[in-house]
């Protein structure tokens, strides 16, 4: 079904992605990530010594600080912080640096829809830039459901507000492995088909949600490729510059 989107994209098309690493020189890892007009700056400081009060000292601790573009830090920011913190805890290798705290700061530069997915994608690149050990990356996408039942990917703010419902989905990065595919499967499905996190707004039927999950998975393959290319290209240094 043809859907008219204001910016002329098709239903499955993502907005143009840009990513610049190492933009802040004091932070251990930093990235400026944008998806269309939504722009987020992520910085990672750590690991620093000591854990916070109620955290397990045998594992690395993460704290996420979300700074909105304007206004005070409120409940929405705390919710985003909690989702990001729990996602980070599931993708990082926690026992390499026990009894340490790594701080992740997300600064929203512009919010034009799909803010949480944008922040998560930025956060992953920032973690890689800082050298924090990870099991795998995570990629995030926003799917919205129109009244007609169409599923659109990566909506802008205007689209999010007029749609019946939207879902933020976080999946693990697709794996590129030398091991045979069968051995990597969990419950008979490849690992990247699993869902790390999900947050929905608006009412939809369960079948629509499963449809969003499938579309989201298909789209994360594109995001995973983009990430892989951006993260690899930094390391092709000119051999003549090496001492």
């Amino acid at each position: 079904m043809e859907v008219d989107r204001k910016d002329g994209r098709t239903a499955n098309q993502l907005r143009p992605l840009t990513c610049s690493r190492n933009v802040l020189n004091r932070a251990h890892g930093s990235v400026s990530w944008s998806q269309g007009e939504t722009k987020v700056l992520a910085a990672v400081y750590g690991p620093n010594a000591g854990t916070k009060k109620n955290e397990n000292p045998e594992k690395a601790c993460f704290e996420v600080i979300w700074k909105p573009k304007t206004g005070h830090v409120g409940k929405a920011e705390k919710e985003y912080e909690m989702i990001l913190k729990r996602t980070v805890q599931s993708i990082c290798v926690l026992n390499v640096h026990p009894n340490t705290t790594t701080s992740i700061i997300i600064q929203v530069v512009n919010d034009d829809g799909a803010l949480l997915p944008c922040a998560l994608n930025a956060l992953c690149v920032a973690l890689v830039d800082a050298g924090i050990p990870l099991k795998h990356l995570a990629v995030a996408i926003c799917c919205c459901l129109a009244d007609s039942g169409d599923i659109l990917l990566d909506p802008s703010k205007l689209e999010e507000q007029i749609m019946k419902a939207y879902v933020y989905l976080i999946f693990p990065n697709s794996t590129l492995s030398v091991l045979p595919e069968e051995s990597l499967k969990v419950i008979g499905e490849p690992m990247e088909h699993g869902l790390i996190a999900s947050s929905t707004h608006g009412v939809m039927s369960v079948d629509d949600y499963i449809g969003c999950l499938e579309r989201g998975r298909a789209a994360t393959a594109k995001l995973s490729d983009f990430l892989r290319r951006r993260l690899q290209s930094q390391f092709q240094i000119d051999p003549s510059k090496l001492g």
């Binding site: 909690m82 990001l84 729990r86 969990v186 699993g194 869902l195 999900s198 009412v203 369960v206 499963i210």
Partner: protein
Amino acid sequence: MTAANGLSDLSSEMEVDAFRRLFPLRYHEQHLLKSVRPDARKLGSARDTTVALGLANSTDQLLLYYLFSGVVQTYICIFAAGAVASADGSALAKIGSTTMLAAIKMEVMTPTVESPDEGSLAIEFHMPPICSPLVRPGRPADVASVISKQLSDTILSSGMIDLKELCLVGGKAAWMAYLDIYCLDADGALFDAALLSAVAAFSHLNIPVVSLNDDGRIVLVSEDTVQLKLEKEPVNTEKRKLKLNSPPFSLTCILHKNYILADPIAEEESIMETVVTVVLDSSYQLVSLYKPGGPILGHTSIIQDCVALARQRVKELQNVLNEAISDMEID
């Protein structure tokens, strides 16, 4: 391995309580192997749920004594009689030991310019230190802000309350409903109990009678003057009840390896970190599926199992709520 042998020697000599404290994950896993949980529940069944409506009024303190026992009851009575003595709608919901007290107070205010014929809701979730040893006075728990936001989002997006019903005089006066939910005992599945108490409080809500006085302001018509002849016609005739279209109900599940445990207690939540909350409304539409990260990935089959468990739970909760409403009407 000698370490494992050392552990198993220790565990064979130890008392059950000590083993539970020192090796909580192994304690729970041994139960899961037999498809049961430490409190003898099946994996997919929820704890006993009770709802009592209209508790935060001075006449219902006898009910409070009935529901609680021990030291807790003194706290509750002081709390309910002092702070919420005149709430327009209130309810107490208990899922196992998790207890939530919800109270609604209505206030007249001018509606916004963008929606002049709609009232509004302000939803706040509090976790006072009484609920858990992990919550200390001063800094509010992070969990409280997150649950507060989740509750607002769920109640507003489910369309349970039509804000147009809260309008009094178009463009000039509308109701603002302040819903406050206090956690009295935090023993897992906080969101489920909070949502249940919110829905119950809205079912109990009696909108007060108001009338327009000479200055053009809305005044509350109190119980006494209703008996006498009123000089001005009340703006809304009789105390009204809000119509709830398809109230949402939720179920929180924990994922651990291949198991799905419904309605976790606080101990299970702290050792098994992957939590999924499914909120369905009465027509089984998905209002919210919230999975805030966690080591276990949610494959489609797992999501569908969680939704199926939530569907059963919606039926149970609807029965509990309907019983509570009919008990209240008998009184």
